[in-house]
């Protein structure tokens, strides 16, 4: 698919957000909205990276802390903290990120397959890495990150 698109010079639109010092991108088609931090109701007996649920205009949506999901160290939520509401395979989930402030177009030709580990994130969770003039973007594979089977596996290993 990448090869095919390359010839056409296609681009994808991605939302850029920050986690630690790295910049990540998710396909804009998978993003429903970006919200400020709000009250999260804790849900007991769930994996630690599941922070709880929020009320998003009448719909209850589970929230995942991406730092915690990737095993990074925790950081206090602040003014810049955002919740990115994504829609993956009929599932709506909110992702807590350090900041989200940009939407850009990336030519598909700039996307390379991911190296084994980038910024501490395993390659299975990545779609690829986009090298732009001044910055390096890590594109996430949300389907894999939010896969319930995957979550069960993690629970087994006590994460």
């Amino acid at each position: 698919m990448v090869n095919h698109a390359e010839q056409l010079g296609e681009e994808i639109k991605v939302i850029i957000f920050k986690l630690k010092s790295e910049e990540y991108g998710v396909d804009v088609k998978q993003v429903k909205s970006i919200e400020r931090m709000e009250h999260i109701t804790r849900v007991p007996n769930t994996p630690p990276f599941v922070k709880g649920v929020i009320n998003l205009r009448g719909v209850v949506i589970p929230i995942i802390d991406l730092r915690s999901r990737f095993g990074f160290d925790q950081k206090e939520y602040g003014e810049a903290t955002r919740i990115i509401i994504v829609n993956v395979e009929e599932m709506e989930v909110g992702l807590i990120v350090d900041a989200a402030n940009d939407v850009i177009d990336i030519p598909l030709s700039a996307i390379e397959p991911p190296p084994k580990v980038v910024g501490g994130v395993e390659s299975v969770y990545l779609r690829g890495v986009a090298k732009l003039k001044t910055r390096l973007l890590i594109l996430l594979n949300l389907d894999r990150i939010l896969n319930p089977e995957e979550v069960k596996q993690l629970e087994k290993f006590g994460m």
Binding site: T41, V43, N45, T46, V59, P148
Partner: protein
């Protein structure tokens, strides 16, 4: 012709008629001499035929036509109802059902019907070869077919004496007409300008209900001539033919009051009465509307949003303490409560829609197993939420099949045990509080405690030591454990070891319970308890540290305050004495791992919510009670399925999410 828009109506009505056929056929089987019942069956078959032909389903039309022929012989007493005939007709109905299902799945009615048609024809032509009788009866409604009662004869005679002419008019509506009753109404309306309609066959009521084929007959008293009447009728569109004949005095004399024809159901249709009926019919028609269930769901969702806002308003009013605001909010609260009841009622469907297929099912099963079984259904008009109705069918089928298959003994066994020849299975539904109960009981052999224990031991569900200490009730509950079947032999019907556990899971997923009670040799009773509705529930809000949780009121017995020193210990388990019963305590903050924010004060008292699950109880320790509130059930989202002891979430007045505690998971 574009028929798609009518397909929905066709399917809906076909199902109704098939259900009617099933019910009446069962009645006929019991009481084979009732001409009334035969007539009703005949009419349903006839309507089905008409609808199928209109929609272009030839196979369906042919099959119903043959059924009609046979039934016509029965109603004209030219044939006796026997077992073979019943079985064949049932077969035909089954085939029709399959066709309707197939059509509703977007396919057609192309089923092999020749076998059943041949059978029907064979029975019809057994002694007399008059299979075409009914179709001729359709088109030639002449004077022989009409009879007048005393009153009508008097009116007709007087009319003739005063110089009126009496017309018998047969009107034919074209085959493709969809709103036949509307056309009939227009004909009536037109004729009323010209004279008085004395009588209609089929009756006005049946015409209103579209309970007729493509033609009907009217007796009109008028001073107009034939052509004027003919013109008036033909002015109505989609009328394909009119036949007029004049009833003379002699004919009237010779018309002897006979047995009323089948189609003339209502009594004494005088001219005035006919008019009133028509008007009433009209009112009736506007009273009922069919509404897409999705629209009701949407209404319910919108209302749910309103309930959340109501909660918010109530909270604000409490904070602001403005008397005007408080009054208005209270008033609004009352109105929205009754609005809520109304909306919930809209979604209520009588459980009849589930029950009505059971008599037929039991009959077939009993025949197959060579048992004699009577089914008694009571409370079929009990209403339940549509969502529950859709889900409850399968579990009930399962329990009924169980009851027939290994609840009931064989006829020989029954006679040996001094029981009536036929086994009785009763199905009973009733309301109680916020619940609907459904009981399925049989007067069969009951549950054999030893047999259940033996099986449970084999499967390793219990140990030999515990086996003796179990109460009967606990033993029966083992039946719901997965993989346990006490049927000696695996039959086609039940005993495959999948079953009661699935039934239980299904019922619990609907927020209900199922229990079983039995007496050896006397019978078994399954009781299902279901909530009236699923989307808005009453709950008790409680606080644990800084977190709020909702506990469904339906599972709460009461709330209580206990002193710390009243708490006792038994086997490392904190318990309290609740009216003489020892009830285990559950530390909710431990189960839910609630982070403690304030210093644990050495409080003297604990707040306890006493909850139950069937016979069992538990006391949930909370920090404080907030109060009772109507809450709207929401799912946690598909990412979080099956969180321990949490059944869902709701949105509170302040916009925050509160979790709903699944107390069933906390009671062991």
């Amino acid at each position: 012709m574009e028929l798609n828009q009518y397909l929905e109506i066709f399917l809906e009505e076909s199902k109704e008629h098939l259900q009617m056929l099933n019910e009446k056929l069962l009645l006929l089987e019991k009481n084979s001499s009732s001409i009334e019942v035969v007539n009703e069956i005949f009419r349903s078959a006839h309507t089905l035929k008409g609808m199928a032909a209109t929609m272009g389903y030839e196979n369906m039309a042919t099959l119903t036509h043959e059924m009609e022929n046979l039934l016509d012989l029965v109603r004209n007493k030219k044939k006796q109802v026997d077992d073979q005939m019943m079985d064949t007709i049932f077969k035909a109905v089954d085939l029709l059902e399959q066709m309707v299902i197939s059509i509703s799945n977007g396919q057609n009615d192309q089923f092999a019907i020749s076998g059943v048609v041949d059978l029907l024809q064979a029975i019809s032509s057994d002694k007399r070869s008059t299979p075409k009788l009914s179709s001729t009866a359709d088109s030639q409604a002449n004077i022989e077919h009409l009879s007048f009662d005393e009153y009508e004869r008097t009116v007709l005679k007087q009319s003739l004496e005063s110089g009126f002419t009496i017309y018998q008019i047969e009107v034919q509506i074209s085959e493709e007409t969809v709103l036949k009753s509307a056309r009939a109404y227009m004909v009536f309306h037109g004729l009323e300008d010209l004279g008085e309609v004395l009588k209609a066959v089929p009756s006005v009521e049946e015409l209103e209900n579209e309970d007729f084929g493509n033609n009907f007959t009217i007796v009109l008293i008028s001073k107009q001539d034939e052509s004027a009447i003919r013109k008036k009728i033909l002015n109505v569109s989609e009328i394909s033919g009119v036949q007029l004949s004049i009833i003379t005095d002699e004919q009237l004399q010779s018309t002897v009051e006979r047995l009323k024809p089948a189609d003339d159901h209502s009594e004494g249709n005088g001219p005035v009465e006919a008019k009133i009926n028509l008007q009433q019919g009209k009112v009736h028609a506007t009273k009922m509307i069919r509404v897409d269930i999705e629209r009701l769901d949407e209404l319910m969702n919108l209302f749910s949003e309103l309930v959340i806002d109501r909660g918010r308003l109530e909270q604000l009013a409490q904070e602001i303490k403005h008397p005007g605001l408080t009054d208005t909010v209270e008033h609004m609260g009352r109105i929205s409560s009754s609005l809520q009841n109304n909306i919930l009622n809209l979604r209520m469907v009588p459980i009849e829609t589930v029950f009505n297929r059971f008599p037929r099912m039991i009959r077939d099963l009993a025949k197959e197993l060579n048992k004699e079984i009577i089914i008694n259904i009571t409370g079929a008009d009990t209403e339940l939420d549509r969502t529950v109705i859709d889900e409850i069918g399968d579990p009930l089928v399962h329990l009924l099949r169980n009851a027939v298959d290994h609840g009931q003994e064989t006829t020989e066994e029954r006679l040996k045990n001094n029981k009536t020849r036929a086994g009785v299975i009763s199905l009973k539904a009733y309301h109680s509080g916020n619940f609907v109960f459904i009981e399925i009981s049989d007067d069969g052999k009951g549950i054999n405690r030893e047999k259940v224990l033996k099986k449970a031991l084999e499967k390793g569900l219990i140990t030999t030591e515990t086996a003796h200490s179990l109460t009967d009730k606990q033993v029966y509950d083992l039946l719901f454990a997965s993989g346990l079947s006490t049927a000696d032999q695996v039959s086609d019907i039940s005993g495959r070891g999948v079953g009661l556990d699935v039934v239980k899971a299904k019922i619990e997923s609907l927020g209900g319970f199922v229990t079983v009670d039995s007496e050896l040799g006397k019978g078994t009773k399954f009781t299902i308890q279901l909530p009236l509705t699923l989307s808005i529930i009453s709950s008790m809000l409680v606080r644990i540290q800084d977190e709020k949780f909702a506990i469904p009121l339906s599972s709460i017995i009461e709330t209580a305050i206990y002193r710390k020193k009243e708490v006792m210990n038994a086997h490392n388990q904190e318990v309290i004495d609740f009216r003489g019963r020892i009830v285990p305590l559950v530390q909710l903050h431990k189960i839910f791992d609630v982070p403690s924010t304030s210093e644990q004060k050495a409080e003297e008292e604990i707040s306890v919510v006493l909850v139950r699950k069937g016979e069992k109880m538990a006391g949930l320790i909370v920090d404080s009670f907030i109060g009772q509130q109507e809450i709207v059930l929401k799912a946690l989202g598909s990412y979080l399925t099956q969180v321990f002891a949490i059944s869902g979430a709701t949105i509170l007045g302040d916009g925050q999410v509160a979790l709903i505690i699944d107390t069933n998971a906390l009671i062991k």
